[in-house]
Amino acid sequence: MQLTLKVWRQKNNKAEGKFEFHKIQAEEHMSFLEMLDVLNEKIVSEKKEPVAFEHDCREGICGSCSMVINGRPHGPQAGTTTCQLHMRAYKSGDTITIEPFRATSFPVIKDLVVDRSSFDNIIQAGGYISVNTGQAVDGNAIPVNRDDASDAFDSAACIGCGACVAACPNGSAMLFTSAKINHLEKLPQGKIEHNTRVKNMIKQMDKEGFGKCSNVGACGVECPKEIPMDNIAAMNRSYLTSVFTKE
């Protein structure tokens, strides 16, 4: 198939960016990133600088890939990361616009690569259970309700890609933050620090410059792991409780 790519090029954080157009021949069995590999091979053969994009595992789990394709983070398919998207989703003659995730808290590094260390900072503010190695009791000492474990997993499935932020008109990280809070809250081991965790992580989230949630719902739709928006509702509830709970 013959495609036209409209790709965002930006030398670095300070430079001004612009779109660049490329014509490319692709095959339907290629993954989207393999199509970009072919583009880069072509650019390198012309001794020019290839398009920088972040990627690693290429199987939808590491959360590295971060691009907005035709206006949607990770492209058109539900529950799919960019690396899992295949060219059979497009037809010959299509023009595809490729941009980086855009949010104040995700500054562009180069072309399609952005800095998402603000996510690490949120986790460092409390996205853990305070247990040192060697302190644990036997794995079966505390039974965990099967559905609770399953719910915890649903939230823990987050890959930290940031599509929720990129999709949100406010650039809010509420889905990311709430997914971690709810993952830990659902488990007896995580309940103990719940109140302080909620307060600290939300404080950090605000400090990183993420926007507020106004119930648009784009985050849940674009999340490649389909983490639902109820996580945000649960976090809001937890936040209110934590504010009125004495430590």
Partner: protein, 665 residues
């Protein structure tokens, strides 16, 4: 060079306990004054960095990723083994030890493997305490499943994303130590050299991948947890960034690369679809619990399927060859990975492959869907269920067990695996070889340690499924925190290491020269094209089966390719900027040397064992034939100045296990 494994005295079951109890300790006030560098933040690196931080050491951690959470441990699907015996099915620490030794085809160190089995149970406890949402039974207790090469159920899992959940657990522990200031995290920093001062590893040279600037980092010792070298094959299930460079740089400074020819080819991956392909995707081994592997009995049927004129469903039972069940009745579809991979190769070599290229076999769930459907119908009290009803109920069960894997398969291939069987083929997945380490996980360079897939220590010539996560976490959480004290207890009087010593300055200069050379070459071929060529040579001559003639040819081809690379590679941009092509170039340059050592090792080992299959050494019934008389040793390779690798041997002594022909029949 004499290789001393430093295995402690005493009976096998007591070695670790006794050693741990008599080891040198470092007092808390001294720990505060000791710096430790940990490179890599996968399961081994993150667990080591956080635990060492908890103990009180000053840890500096490094990853080339933008966040420690992205390491490739995250992609492990199936599970993690532990000898908990929660299922009451006869498991024990000894049995896990024995299975691992046997699975590794008797080419690993007894003492290390037994310690691994001992630590396995603690890992599960630790992970549960961190909030890893393992699968649970209705009563709230932990669930288990079976994996290849064993006859008990000892694998703990979190759907098909066990690696992700365990890594997030380790990452959360690491994040906590970062917040407490005990670990200083350096994201987007790639290690480009290790610095040796007075014979001890005292630091590393890194490149800040954002600015391209080189940095010198000093510490009292260096821990490498930088993963395996499967990407030497270009196409593998490894992440795109996985590389051998940190380990290889250590080899260039005198460390030894042990058993480099032991590579694991995983039997269940999605077949290659075209020349543009960048990586291969694994389908978890857990699928072999319920999936049946088969090819057509008749060559005509296979040909028709390859040409798209027939489908799998059109073939009657008697026209199918469930070759694993036929050849290995005791283990059936759950034979170890090396055995399953070779069997697939045998079937496709006969021309019975089921994809266009001929390189693929079926993994069929129809029988499991029917079995689960019938039992669910029975539980629900549906009498005389229709076949459509059975199918629907069965698909539901299969979806609960493997839903995300089926979804992943459909996304990549565009085919629905509930309706027609999956097509799979073996692909490079893991490397059992790695840096030579002693019982303390210390390389032959004092103060340089290697953990996880980066070392060679526990899996012998073949790794069993669900054991990589176990080893990474055992090394990081429960072994290195103790054994590092054996080195550091002698360093309590050593002041902070300066990064301005001549050794650091020389190392930085040499690194800079290496990078400049790559840019200045300004040739005509892309880094990617060299990598692809290297991969083809490796797969052709050092892949699923090897022979002396091919290996000799392959070595020559790699040497030629390396020369060509030096003269004709093109790397755009400059050193001091964000430059992903330059990153790739440094990694491929190291793969071009590593590949040769792998081939030399494969050529040197005149036997077949585990993942190393030499066509010249086959039993009459087509199975791998070991030569215990001559090859019961670890081959540890030194890279000499003149570019000629030289082998050193550590004899393997089996005091508890009798060496037998590995049989899964």
């Amino acid at each position: 060079m004499k290789l001393d494994s430093k295995t402690p005295e005493g009976s096998l079951a007591e070695k670790w306990t006794k050693y741990r109890g008599s080891m040198n300790l470092v007092a808390p006030n001294n720990k505060r004054r000791l710096d430790v560098i940990v490179v890599g933040t996968g399961l081994a690196g993150a667990s080591a960095a956080s635990t060492l931080g908890e103990l009180g050491y000053n840890v500096k951690a490094f990853t080339f990723h933008d966040s420690p959470r992205r390491a490739h441990s995250i992609a492990a699907q199936g599970g993690i083994n532990a000898a908990k015996n929660y299922q009451n099915d006869g498991d024990s620490i000894y049995r896990l030890f024995y299975d691992t030794i046997k699975g590794g085809d008797y080419r690993s160190r007894e003492s290390n493997v037994h310690r691994l089995a001992e630590c396995s149970t603690e890992i599960i406890d630790q992970a549960v305490a961190q909030g890893v949402p393992f699968a649970r039974e209705y009563g709230g207790l932990l669930a288990n499943r079976s994996f290849g090469g064993v006859q008990v159920s000892r694998t703990f899992y979190a759907r098909g994303q066990t690696g992700q959940q365990l890594l997030i657990g380790a990452y959360s522990g690491l994040s906590r130590q970062i917040a407490l200031g005990k670990v200083k995290m350096h994201n987007r920093h790639e290690m480009l050299d290790v610095v040796i001062v007075d014979g001890k590893a005292r630091g590393i040279i890194t490149r800040n991948l954002l600015t391209g600037k080189l940095e010198k980092h000093a510490a009292h010792c260096v821990v490498l947890a930088t993963g395996g070298y499967g990407n030497v094959f270009y196409l593998s299930t490894n992440a795109m960034g996985s590389n051998v460079s940190a380990a290889w740089r250590a080899v260039k400074k005198g460390a030894l690369m042990a058993n480099p020819c032991y590579t694991q080819i995983h039997p269940t991956c999605i077949p290659v679809s075209g020349e543009y392909q960048s990586k291969l995707t694994l389908m978890s081994e857990s699928l072999r619990n319920d999936g049946r592997v088969w090819v057509p009995n008749k060559l005509d049927d296979a040909k028709a399927i390859q040409q798209g004129q027939k489908t799998a469903q059109e073939l009657k039972e008697e026209d199918r060859d469930y070759y694993l069940e036929r050849r290995y009745p005791a283990f059936g579809n759950l034979v170890p990975r090396d055995v399953a991979s070779r069997a697939a190769k045998t079937a496709t070599d006969e021309g019975k492959g089921v994809v266009k290229t001929g390189l693929g076999v079926y993994l069929d769930f129809a029988a499991a869907i029917e079995r689960y459907g019938k039992s669910t119908a029975h539980t629900k009290g549906i009498s005389n269920p229709s076949s459509a009803q059975i199918k629907e109920l069965g698909e539901e069960v299969v979806s609960q067990k493997y839903g995300n894997l089926f979804q992943m398969y459909e996304k990549i291939t565009g085919e629905n695996p509930y309706k027609s069987p999956m097509k799979i083929y073996p692909a490079v997945h893991y490397t059992m070889g790695g840096l030579w380490v002693d019982y303390n996980l210390e390389t032959n360079i004092p103060g340089l340690f290697a953990l996880g897939e980066a070392n060679f220590s526990d899996h012998g010539a073949n790794r069993l499924g669900a054991s990589a996560l176990m080893q990474g976490l055992a090394d990081g959480y429960f072994v290195i925190p103790y054994t590092i004290g054996q080195f550091l207890s002698n360093e309590i009087r050593t002041p902070q290491i300066s990064n301005e010593s001549p050794e650091f300055i020389t190392a930085e200069k040499e690194t800079r020269a290496r990078l400049d050379h790559l840019i200045d070459t300004n040739g005509n071929q892309s880094v990617e094209s060299f990598h692809r060529k290297l991969g083809k040579i490796m797969w052709e001559y050092c892949g699923m089966s090897r022979n002396a003639e091919g290996l000799q040819k392959g070595i020559k081809m790699i040497q030629d390719l390396r020369e060509e690379f030096k003269k004709d590679v093109f790397v755009p941009g400059v050193v001091e900027e964000f430059n992903p092509e330059l990153e790739k170039a440094t990694r491929v340059a190291d793969f071009l040397e590593m590949g040769e050592v792998m081939m030399r090792d494969a050529l040197d080992r005149n036997e077949s064992c585990g993942g190393h299959f030499r066509e010249e050494y086959v039993s009459s019934d087509g199975e791998a034939e070991r030569n215990d008389e001559e090859y019961t040793y670890v081959a540890a390779w030194e890279w000499l100045e003149n570019g000629k690798p030289q082998v050193h041997k550590e004899e393997l002594k089996f005091e508890n296990v009798e060496l037998k022909t590995r049989s899964y029949k």
